[in-house]
């Protein structure tokens, strides 16, 4: 297996164009707990304007931690006096995410973004199914809005271990034509098995929506299954990966994802710079699960 990150072509994140990332000092404007998640609004001059659905922002995680923590952009807002701001959803699980979640309003911290390649949007008003699991579903909300603007039919399939980990199903109903909810414990929506949350619902939803395109943001095992189901259904599929890494900016090669190129050769792509959105049929899901690059 030969492998390199795609060279040659100027990556949209790397070129110093208005869509490229900037590094600024952000400020916490709002921070509110809902269920298992902390919803944080961050003034970040110049970042918000450049955001496209599927990109992320990188935040510091407090001394002496040197890795950055990535967060999907949940939305963009205009905030009086601050220009525009980004909304992120933080699940406080480890020291870095807890640090971010506990920052008081007014706290300032370095923000880098938007980072990564966004979801590609279809040219035509096709039928789109958006599959979102837990906090990763955050990136689907701005996507749903853009798709709707383009006249696409948006169907959403949302899943989580329980209601408190389900992200904004109510809001989904405002944008999407139809919303299906699955939880592992059955606390809301259908009950789906914990080890294959979307298993039963997915083929059914794809069928019902006559899906042309599937967008998914979920854990890696779920993404692998969604990609397979989409292929089976004959839909074009894009997956947003949450692959660990430290810099988020494409500098360290720490976030390897095995991706097949046009030429069929598998290369080690950087999840943060070459992704986080990849075509579902290009990612080598088995190797990824096995820890291989």
């Amino acid at each position: 297996m030969t492998s390199t990150p795609p060279p040659g072509d100027p990556a949209p994140t790397a070129a110093p164009t208005p869509t490229g990332p900037v590094h600024v000092i952000g400020e916490i404007l709002h921070s509110r707990r809902t269920g298992a998640y902390q919803h944080v609004t961050l003034a970040a001059p110049d970042v918000a304007e450049r955001v496209r659905p599927g990109t992320v922002v990188a935040l510091t995680a407090g001394e002496p931690r040197l890795g950055r923590r990535l967060f999907w952009v949940r939305g963009v807002r205009t905030v009086g006096g601050f220009g525009s701001a980004v909304e992120i959803v933080v699940e406080p699980t480890g020291p870095g995410s807890r640090w971010v979640a506990e920052l008081p309003v007014g706290a300032r911290l370095p923000v880098t973004g938007p980072l990564g390649r966004p979801f590609s949007l279809p040219r035509d008003p096709v039928s789109c199914v958006l599959v979102g699991e837990e906090v990763a579903a955050a990136c689907l909300y701005p996507l749903a809005l853009r798709l709707k603007e383009r006249g696409c039919a948006v169907t959403m399939l949302l899943g989580a271990r329980s209601e408190s980990h389900l992200l904004a199903a109510l809001e989904a109903r405002r944008t999407a034509r139809s919303v299906t909810v699955v939880t592992a414990d059955g606390s809301v929506g259908r009950k789906g098995p914990a080890d294959d949350l979307f298993g039963a619902a997915l083929p059914e939803v794809l069928e019902r929506a006559a899906a042309d395109v599937v967008y998914a943001a979920a854990t890696t095992p779920s993404l692998a299954r969604v990609a397979r189901a989409a292929e089976h259904h004959g839909a074009w599929c894009q997956t947003a990966l949450t692959q660990p890494g430290v810099c988020g900016t494409g500098l360290c090669q720490g976030c390897a994802v095995p991706v097949a190129g046009e030429d069929g050769l598998v290369r080690s792509a950087r999840a943060c710079a070459d992704g986080p959105v990849f075509r579902g049929d290009r990612v080598r899901w088995d190797e990824l699960a096995g820890g291989a690059p």
């Binding site: 297996m1 030969t2 492998s3 390199t4 990150p5 060279p7 040659g8 100027p10 990556a11 994140t13 790397a14 070129a15 110093p16 490229g20 990332p21 900037v22 590094h23 510091t60 001394e63 002496p64 931690r65 040197l66 890795g67 950055r68 370095p110 880098t112 692959q243 660990p244 890494g245 430290v246 810099c247 900016t249 494409g250 500098l251 360290c252 090669q253 720490g254 976030c255 390897a256 080690s268 710079a273 820890g291 291989a292 690059p293």
Partner: protein, 287 residues
């Protein structure tokens, strides 16, 4: 001091493997504004790199086991290098080989490419055997191998392309190594790399970042005292203009910024601006 010593770029550049392909860094500032852009370490054939996780946090440091992921020499020379040269970057190409012969071939072909400001031979990988590289650390026999690597690279490179060797930040041994490499024709040293360490899951990894700054700085001071004519680029834990000045004060002619860039992608531009006109390496290494 060799005539090439004055050609060593500086005073502030990124460290090998911490600047991506250059394109990512270019989003945060002109590459031509840096003393140099140092590439990932390039090997003759493409490398996929190691398994995940590859980089993890440790107190005030990072542990990495990236495994020299790179596109291989051909692809690098065809696509990445020309792009970097077009940006006006002074490009330092980092190379590593599996044999003395491979090193020589890398040096020859890199040296023939237009726009290369210097070649940096990575003799400091914390775990060379793990990545199929030449063992140049220990015992004495391997130190001789390092000398042969440098002398054959020197032979293959155009006379006016400075040849740098990157050494492990080992204060006890770095001076002895430097004497050998100086005789072999090296124009300058980069000291040092990350330290051999253990990843949390028990694999071999390497420690970089502010944690090791005082160790890297000690190496620079030892070299400046023992081999004052050999320019030394200080690398290891530099994260601020103050750190850079401390490294220069210890006797370095330039600094490289690695881990800090992973935390703040503007770090190398910020420090380059901070150190500013203070290009003391231009004076011929006067300290």
């Amino acid at each position: 001091m060799s005539a090439n010593a004055a050609r060593i770029p500086g005073p502030v550049m990124n460290a090998a493997g911490c600047g991506g392909t250059g394109r990512e860094l270019a989003a945060y500032g002109d590459l031509s504004a840096l003393g140099a852009f140092v590439t990932r370490t390039i090997t003759l054939t493409p490398r996929t790199g190691g398994s995940m996780p590859r980089v993890v946090e440790t107190p005030s440091g990072l542990l990495h086991a990236v495994g020299l992921q790179n596109p291989g020499l051909d692809r690098f020379l065809a696509t990445e290098l020309p792009w970097l040269v077009r940006q006006g970057a002074r490009v330092v190409v980092s190379i590593a080989g599996e044999s003395v012969v491979e090193h020589a071939e890398l040096a020859r072909r890199v040296g023939q490419s237009p726009g290369v400001a210097a070649v940096e031979v990575d003799l400091a990988e914390p775990d060379p055997p793990a990545w199929g590289l030449l063992e140049t650390r220990e015992p004495i026999a391997s130190a001789l191998v390092a000398t042969r690597v440098i002398s054959s690279c020197r032979r293959e490179l155009p006379r006016d392309v400075p040849l740098l060797a990157k050494l492990r930040p080992d204060p006890v041994r770095v001076v002895d190594q430097a004497y050998g490499l100086l005789e072999a024709g090296v124009d300058g040293l980069v000291v040092g790399h990350a330290l051999p360490a253990l990843m949390p899951d028990g694999r071999s990894g390497a420690l970089s970042g502010p944690a090791l700054f005082p160790v890297a700085r000690r190496c620079v001071a030892e070299l400046a005292a023992a081999v004052p004519d050999l320019p030394v680029i200080g690398c290891g834990g530099v994260g601020s203009t103050a750190d850079a000045h401390a490294m220069l004060d210890a006797g370095a002619v330039a600094v490289q910024i690695g881990t800090a860039l992973l935390h703040d992608p503007t770090a190398v531009h910020r420090i380059a601006a901070g150190v500013g006109g203070d290009r003391r390496h231009d004076t011929g290494g006067a300290r």
